[in-house]
Subunit: 192 residues, 2 copies
DNA sequence: GTCTATAGGAAGATAGAC
DNA sequence: GTCTATCTTCCTATAGAC
């Protein structure tokens, strides 16, 4: 009896993530999610009984976990701070496919004045990211307040470069942002 | 006979803009647009015969025009470069309501790989913004390549700070970004 | 586990009264 | 110009065969 899934959970979440990154939550209809995943709508409901909201929730969890294990992990190694920052930038290029991929954290965000099922996870992941970066910058010798400020604007620069890439139909904003981070973070952190 | 509109075009576009900024294109159903504007669906179709796409298009045009006349206009005055940059930052706080408002240019963007009816207008406005900023930075004495790079990453920082404000449910990222711009742009541009 | 078929409702859009 | 009522299409979700 054919009970084994035709596609693994990870591959499925990766494909569904493509839809949410490109179309957002409202734009990702079950029909499009089915097309993107290769499964039919009813099959998606079998694997995600609570429907679209569960799909988006698990896709988001998967993406956050992936960010943790690549981008954030590079900040937590036992290398020198400047090398960890350099590693984060390398991981960012992979994670956002050189600027071709939008960020799920941004695409699933709700207005500032409201809160939905994803708000908490998004907020927590962004704060974790900023804190990990802040910690690295402090170890590199920045003053605490300065480290926090620099971490926050660095993550803002990354997110904004992805917004510009989308809006300007070019990966150049992302590329320039990565170079800017290299100069502002790594070169500052390098022991001299 | 009651032919005069109950609400002016500008007020109408402003209210409809709220919906698109908060909910995006797909999330802004005609029902929600009607609620937000105070008109009924059929009335919206009377004033925008081509429907939702026309509404979003005119809302976008109105927002771009508003950006031009406030934020971009401040960059084009005949003041000193450092004063023009300071003025832009002041205008940004108003335009984005101290970080409480998302940017329509970002909310109506389609994936990098695709292009829709709004793509051209969004791309053009972002490029106009970056060019105006670049021009001001050159007048302040930056090398041409440096000015372009700095203009692009500055706009990315602004957009990203709005993304973070949304995601972290706080206007602090926007506030810090404005302070960062003050330091990186204005203080650099000030004649010494 | 996956599928076809379909229920039930919300979406975009229109007709016609006032 | 604005409204109520309605049409059609698309959406989320479910039932039941294989």
């Amino acid at each position: 009896m054919g009970r084994r899934p035709l596609i693994s959970d990870e591959e499925l979440l990766a494909r569904l993530g493509r839809a949410f990154r490109n179309l957002g939550y409202e734009g990702s209809s079950l029909a499009k999610l089915a097309d993107e995943s290769g499964l039919k709508k009813a099959s998606l409901y079998h694997r995600f009984p609570q429907g679209k909201e569960q799909i988006a929730g698990e896709v988001l969890d998967f993406a956050c976990q992936s960010l943790e294990q690549t981008v954030l992990a590079s900040l937590r190694s036992d290398d020198q701070p400047d090398l960890r920052l350099r590693a984060m930038i390398d991981q960012l290029r992979v994670f956002y496919s050189d600027g071709n991929r939008a960020c799920l954290l941004s695409m699933l965000s709700s207005p500032l004045s409201t809160a939905d099922a994803f708000s908490e996870r998004i907020k927590k992941t962004l704060e974790t990211w900023i804190s990990a970066l802040e910690q690295t910058l402090e170890e590199a010798g920045l003053a605490p307040g300065q480290a926090r400020q620099s971490a926050l604007t660095s993550v803002a620069l990354i997110q904004g470069s992805l917004v510009l890439a989308r809006g300007m139909k070019s990966t150049q904003p992302f590329e320039l942002a990565m170079e800017q981070l290299q100069r502002d973070l790594v070169d500052e952190a390098r022991p001299h």
